[in-house]
Symmetry: D2
Subunit: 304 residues, 4 copies
Amino acid sequence: MTNKTNPFQGSLFQGIITYPITPFSVNGEVDTKTLSTLIEQLINSGSHAIAPLGSTGESAYLNDDEWAEVAQASIKAVNKRLPVIVGVSDLTTQNAVKRAKIAEKSGADAIMVLPVSYWKLTPDEIFSHYAQIADAVSLPIMVYNNPATSGIDMSPELIVQLFKSIDNVTMVKESTGDIQRMHKIRLLANGELPFYNGSNPLALEAFAAGATGWCTAAPNIISQWPFKLYQAIQNNDIVLARELFYKQLPLLEFILKGGLPTTIKAGLALKGLPVGEPRKPLQALDDVGNKKLHSLLKALEEIA
Amino acid sequence: MTNKTNPFQGSLFQGIITYPITPFSVNGEVDTKTLSTLIEQLINSGSHAIAPLGSTGESAYLNDDEWAEVAQASIKAVNKRLPVIVGVSDLTTQNAVKRAKIAEKSGADAIMVLPVSYWKLTPDEIFSHYAQIADAVSLPIMVYNNPATSGIDMSPELIVQLFKSIDNVTMVKESTGDIQRMHKIRLLANGELPFYNGSNPLALEAFAAGATGWCTAAPNIISQWPFKLYQAIQNNDIVLARELFYKQLPLLEFILKGGLPTTIKAGLALKGLPVGEPRKPLQALDDVGNKKLHSLLKALEEIA
Amino acid sequence: MTNKTNPFQGSLFQGIITYPITPFSVNGEVDTKTLSTLIEQLINSGSHAIAPLGSTGESAYLNDDEWAEVAQASIKAVNKRLPVIVGVSDLTTQNAVKRAKIAEKSGADAIMVLPVSYWKLTPDEIFSHYAQIADAVSLPIMVYNNPATSGIDMSPELIVQLFKSIDNVTMVKESTGDIQRMHKIRLLANGELPFYNGSNPLALEAFAAGATGWCTAAPNIISQWPFKLYQAIQNNDIVLARELFYKQLPLLEFILKGGLPTTIKAGLALKGLPVGEPRKPLQALDDVGNKKLHSLLKALEEIA
Amino acid sequence: MTNKTNPFQGSLFQGIITYPITPFSVNGEVDTKTLSTLIEQLINSGSHAIAPLGSTGESAYLNDDEWAEVAQASIKAVNKRLPVIVGVSDLTTQNAVKRAKIAEKSGADAIMVLPVSYWKLTPDEIFSHYAQIADAVSLPIMVYNNPATSGIDMSPELIVQLFKSIDNVTMVKESTGDIQRMHKIRLLANGELPFYNGSNPLALEAFAAGATGWCTAAPNIISQWPFKLYQAIQNNDIVLARELFYKQLPLLEFILKGGLPTTIKAGLALKGLPVGEPRKPLQALDDVGNKKLHSLLKALEEIA
């Protein structure tokens, strides 16, 4: 593949961007030691970047101190071997700015921002939220659209406006699962805004449509499959990519439907790395779910 | 109206339950002095109960200290003249429990709980969330369903199950704006679970369907109209209630569409009580909105 | 109730507008003899108007000859004892015009028009469709909005525009079940456009909101209940109306959910008037449904 | 590509299945002479099959005689040079069976069936509808799912059940535009049920996901682009396919949004083949639309 077909060949972030869960100890405290072990595994599996404190990392359920602890422990564990993108989303602009500054000071390579809110936000309110965070740091910003969790849906038009108007907005993670959003972003930005797919069951088609990367928690428990799929795409072999995709699709659907913290934490336990339960009101995966997950992992030869 | 037609005649909470906004000072801090002034006005206008720290109160945007400050200041300002129901919703079960205990200790008469979350919750997770909060206090609990802000939608079946299984769950505030939910709750609970309407433009029909009360922020800026409507309903005069409803409907639609903290705060300023701006990313009402709101208030003779 | 509270007191169509099913013989042909018997029952029960060839009348499944046969037989059976409104909807404008002319020539008092289509229609296309039908006849036209069956959703704005721009558009039947549509129509038309409710489980609230009538197939099988409800509304007694409404609500929900031709035809058979099955692909109500329907009719004392 | 990666290599229908519009004369009658000219163009452009009387062919707006005339004229025009699949959908089962028989007798190679209805159909009703049509003919049947026009949405589970239970159901055209439906069909049917994409803006990703063909009206006006895209897919060159797709995407979105009969007929006129207007209530494309369409065709070098 030449630069002509993929102008983001040289981007810092491309390929498989992996989202670690946040391990908790038995009494519910953040467990940075296990987090380091997990990150080591993710690097060894072939991740192209590490993204702590995303939806998968239960960022929304952590208090400010815990959030900072996870950000700093993750950056330290990666230790500059890969680029790190830290989720700094918060309900108030003030606190998101504060987190962005901590991320920058702690050595993050980029930050990811989801405009999570309680009341619906107008496009102007969303724009100002991003602008104020962007002003506070010099890091590249990945705009993150995930209305299913955040309750805020950003149109492709608004996303491209953020990219064109704010210097350090340089990437967008689209998690609606709607491939037409990616088409629209590509057309509106003349192909200059790299988009990343955040919806696991859309991985094949997002790459077909030209996604620069796949933002996914799947490598936590299926260490090889996302990387093989990406390699096939890099080799312009859609026939092989399709075959690899359909093999992992049942697992990808399962973790989406069951909630990423819940299912990924269960999968790690099944694979021998206990990471605790998700924080309440989220609950651990039940027995039926665990059996199903076990069989899905076995079918992919990720478990004995 | 006899007890036969309204079995909740004797309930603590009925009629117009008023939701005060949370005033902020110029530098963005909670302003409890102005809050007391506002609550005094709401009591004088004829409110049947006061409900601080709801959606209107920007509860979601306050930190724990601010939340406790508003809870205590509100209870103190009401000073037992009316029942007080305090919103204790939080993203984690642990923090919602903590807030429930503070509310009880501070003298609240009831608490309101919205199962706000980031990841979607299963019915089991929602049930446990309520059960744990209910276990921690002896106050009556108002279940609050508002998927447009919380992202969690509780079916009438689940709501009635909470009522039947958990002793101190005794009321439900339905804010979907779907009258069929109220019908379903009434049929499923054999009319024993009092339901309250939280969708302003549904006020007339919710009362027609048998709602025990109307949970509303409107009395902050239209001091007389909701009470007159309720009085007509009490008098079994739907013809007059309809007339009163249609008069205030344009205002009710405006505050819903524009966001309650944004529009109510603007309305209070227009009426001569400055209460500061909503917390960012929420923004103050713009000029066009202020002009529209002014004309709506004038049409209702709430402003000169 | 005075003219002041209901400016449509003198309208031709108000109260309970009843929609007869179209009976078929064993070999699937239109059975006008049974249709006459049914219409006689509907008049005797207290209907304020009769509306053949609506959704309930399986108009969409009849060929042109059958349609004309039912229109003429219905008008003849009513024999000017009540006003008759005939559904003339068809997929093409040309055929809808043809049916409108037949209805007028046959003695209909008004026609009802649903903009049913296959491809979505623009507001302009819908407007022209109505304008051409209106030009072809001098009868009053009831605009009918029912996106769940027709696939075309008309906004309150468009409906009021039809009313203001086309002389013989004088009524609207709203079947979305969304009470806010009725509010909007009332506000946009300054209360001058009479609106009728076509969603059975919304009957109580539509009357509360000021509906001039209830368009319903329910009187085919529950001969007394809709009339009693309307009487209570006429008496400005919402407490009694509510009580009557909740009693019949389970039946109203059942016939909506099961499809009107399917459930109403089953109910008529249960009550002793066999009217044949709905036309395929629609199927007759199954055993479980028949048992449920029987118990609902029994609870309302409509069956022994 | 080998048989292993595409088990339907030998299917009768694969590649670009082209849907001709139905030309009308100035006075609105079916114009079979122009239809023959159009079909000749479509064959010359490289179509792999011809599919008259689909949604694009305004089948829903034709009476029975017109429908038969178009079916027979199309089959005659193709003259066995390509396989022909005839749309036989109708609102009643009886008439759909009748059309299926006419199609078979007239020499069609397959029929396409959309369960169009007025009242929502249960899965049982849909199944019986297909079973009765299938019993009446020995032709292969393409199940067609297009809820946006038909109002009936068939789940992947139901579609696969039709395939497994009814012998001559051998293909499915999925037009929801939801790529996850195709994934589900592939997984549920173990890859044995060939699926075809009917949503133009999904063309690239449907092929990536393994679609056997693309059912499209686009070749009526962009003679080369769909074929080039398919060729790239056949060559396992997703990079080239992506480039070709994005070039034609604005045109594909335009014809979807504007309605296929409306926009395709306008495009044919712009390219020098007048085919009349769509049937009312559908209207011809307006001036703004024609200008936009002209520029889109020019950008694709389909017009001078």
